[in-house]
Amino acid sequence: EAGVTQFPSHSVIEKGQTVTLRCDPISGHDNLYWYRRVMGKEIKFLLHFVKESKQDESGMPNNRFLAERTGGTYSTLKVQPAELEDSGVYFCASSPGTQGWGYNEQFFGPGTRLTVL
């Protein structure tokens, strides 16, 4: 079975441009998470989808970031306009099951390395 996939693997853009990252979760996984690791910092939670609904977007840094999950399948994370401090690695993870308590293992994608010049 294919794992979580992310596209692109690496993106280099200039400040002020727009970039869209894509994540395809494991088929059938209702939960989809976005995280990012900025250089020298820890991996931080951005947001959580349950199917197509945003369950928790408390980690989104500002309104330049927009996440969507069309039809509860793949998700996109758009940064517009990109700033220098947005550089880092963006991870996507998915887990099975519907929202509830009790932890379901999250399976991570390989990440997208974003470089803003």
């Binding site: 991996i43 939670f45 928790d56 980690g59 887990s95 308590w101 009790g102 932890y103 390989p110 990440g111």
Partner: protein
């Protein structure tokens, strides 16, 4: 606020020597604790979780609620243990939503 602290950024050990990665946490409630590992050119993957109380690849971790710690240990390090290790926690409530809070990570080099 929930927080995970890994005081060591880099741990260098000799093959066959014991290795211990420190992790301390703060959380107002009952968290679930995990260790994730990222080997070179591979994706982040779950190593072990405190609830399962398993030993994976020779690693064990005990949750000490009094000291709010979840240190990872292995009695005899192997070269294949060289990797980046992250301690993480998740809240055990519906409101917590299973989001993970990570520590800064510890890079282990086995020589």
């Amino acid at each position: 606020a929930q927080r995970v602290t890994q005081p060591e950024k880099l741990l260098s050990v000799f093959k066959g020597a014991p290795v211990e990665l420190k992790c301390n946490y703060s959380y107002s409630g009952s968290p679930e604790l995990f260790w994730y590992v990222q080997y070179s050119r591979q994706r982040l993957q779950l190593l072990l979780r405190h609830i399962s109380r398993e030993s994976i690849k020779g690693f064990t971790a005990d949750l000490n609620k009094g000291e709010t710690s979840f240190h990872l240990k292995k009695p005899f390090a192997q070269e294949e243990d060289s990797a980046m290790y992250y301690c993480a926690l998740s809240g055990l409530t519906k409101a917590a939503g299973n989001k993970l809070t990570f520590g800064g990570g510890t890079r282990v080099l086995v020589k």
